[in-house]
Symmetry: C2
Subunit: 324 residues, 2 copies
């Protein structure tokens, strides 16, 4: 039999990578824990059942930050309980120190296993590129992790210290509320303050700019409508309280271009602060990481992985780290 699954349970996506030797499979399932936390058990079962037979599951999570839980402790306990109930195979859980521990130990040290998924990816990057900056840009956040001498050289370990260090940047390729990316956008040669509602998200920007195909818009749309360019334009126009027809396609594209540029600027600023080494782009938003590298004039180093594995880097890394 053989085979290991790396499982990354996020607040908005669950990702699983099965691996056996050189063979691998990737399953990504958008699932927003705060909408219905009790549905998570079915999602974990479904994801793992879609993969081949396996001897164990190595788990990491960021879902504990979801406001489905009052505290991270409560969130970690819920995810561990759910994973144990959903999955028959033995479970191990990653800590922010990079160890894989048993579920009993994970329960005893909830804050050490909270938000540890970046550690898995960074360990895998360090094994290939010993002096580099990992830029894993996901749907919602970017991990900006320095690797030095093959070791994870991050200053922060938990989310708060990572935000403070610039190692966690809360901007992503899909789910970021446009009102939180920039306070002003260009409209007709002027700067227009934005409406702070949840009218449009970064997926709308990248769809309109052609960075993302409609099927790559894998999270819910803010207005519940279609993931096509026409509807994305309407959502972006609403950011300045306008109808799409009132602005026109070109003006909407200028707004989108500014927000895209601002995301790249934010990621590049964090990268400059964290390290001056070559950049390893990962994640569904790797295109933003590459643009940040270009803006900084930094070389880009690739992970020798399939694209689907790069998009689900923590899960892919876990499937490689866990002993069969």
């Amino acid at each position: 039999m053989g085979g290991v699954i790396g499982l990354d349970v996020g607040g908005a996506n669950t990702k699983a990578v099965w691996r056996d030797g050189d063979d691998s499979r990737v399953v990504t399932r958008p699932y927003e824990v705060w909408r219905d936390r009790d549905g998570l058990i079915a999602v974990l079962r479904e994801v793992v059942e879609a993969l081949p037979a396996h001897e164990r599951v190595a788990l990491t999570m960021t879902a504990e930050l979801s406001d489905a839980f009052r505290t991270k402790r409560e969130g970690v306990a819920f995810v561990l309980d759910t994973a144990e109930a959903a999955l028959p195979a033995p479970l191990s859980v990653l800590t922010t120190a990079g160890e894989l521990v048993g579920i009993a130990e994970a329960r005893a040290r909830p804050l050490d296993v909270a938000a540890a998924n970046w550690v898995a990816a960074a360990l895998a990057v360090g094994a290939v590129h010993p002096d580099a900056l990992m830029l894993d840009v996901g749907s919602t956040t970017a991990d900006v992790i320095p690797i030095a001498g093959g070791r994870v050289a991050a200053r922060g370990r938990d989310d708060l210290s990572r935000l403070l260090a610039g190692e966690l940047v809360y901007t992503g390729a899909l789910r970021t509320n446009l009102a939180a990316i920039a306070a002003r956008v260009p409209v007709g040669g002027d700067w227009c303050p934005v409406a702070s509602e949840l009218f449009a998200i970064s997926a709308d920007v990248h769809l309109v700019l052609g960075h993302l195909p409609p099927e790559g818009y894998s999270c819910p749309t803010p207005d519940g409508r279609a993931t096509d360019v026409e509807h994305a334009r309407e959502r972006i126009a609403r950011l300045v309280c306008a109808d799409a027809a009132q602005l026109g396609a070109e003006a909407i594209e200028r707004i989108a271009a500014h927000l895209h540029d601002e995301q790249v600027r934010q990621i590049a600023t964090a990268a400059r602060r964290v390290s001056d080494t070559p950049i390893v782009p990962l994640g569904g938003g790797a295109f933003l990481a590459r643009e940040a590298a270009a803006r900084l004039g930094r070389p880009v180093l690739e992970m020798p992985w399939r694209e689907a594995e790069r998009d689900a880097a923590p899960a892919a890394a876990l499937a490689r780290l866990a002993p069969c």
Copy 2:
């Protein structure tokens, strides 16, 4: 019989003021149109049935901007249809030029009746204070409207031109996403970038700072939990990806104080830009308008209304404007 109702149908609140001579009643009903637009008809019936007998209803709206509608035209048509179906009394509708028109004319000129509620309040202010700046701070937005020689001297008429002119500031006392108020907040002597989720709103800030009693938190909480200080602290802590216990009450209060200050700064900046006259504070967030006036060293002029009317200024003004 006699009596007129001023009805202000917003995206998140419906407000109605009944008036007959010096007698008046106010009903405010939080109702978020985008969650279930088909529920609006029952809300309008309920609000009007809670008020005394009346001869007519004067209507204004901002709900058409809600992303329950693809365009403002669609939104205006929906609100007009719903009001006509819900309310037996003859309806008149306010335009952004300050006229009250019949429903057929309103249907024919949807963009002239969209987002006109600020005009009603400004006309009423102008009748009392001919040279002043109206600062009507609601749950979500602030209207910053210059009155000169008793006339409404606004440069913008629709939402987009009002945003550009600083006459519409998208910050409010209850519903504003904290991640859209400031990109960074103070944490432990440092500045921490915020998580751009919808973890906490301005009602949490003003509850924690004692500006708002728990029953004043009249919109849904982001996490679906209680409107008490303890839960508000948890929501604010999540803004920097932390648990409340990790930060402590004092650190959370410092974050709240910064966000409060930033809201006042944004309103004061717009007020300075729009006019240099005395300020007339209105709305459920009038306390923010008064603080902006203090920051600018401007005199404050009061409207001779009951507090409940000031909180629902456009509806109260409409009930005075409409002929009995």
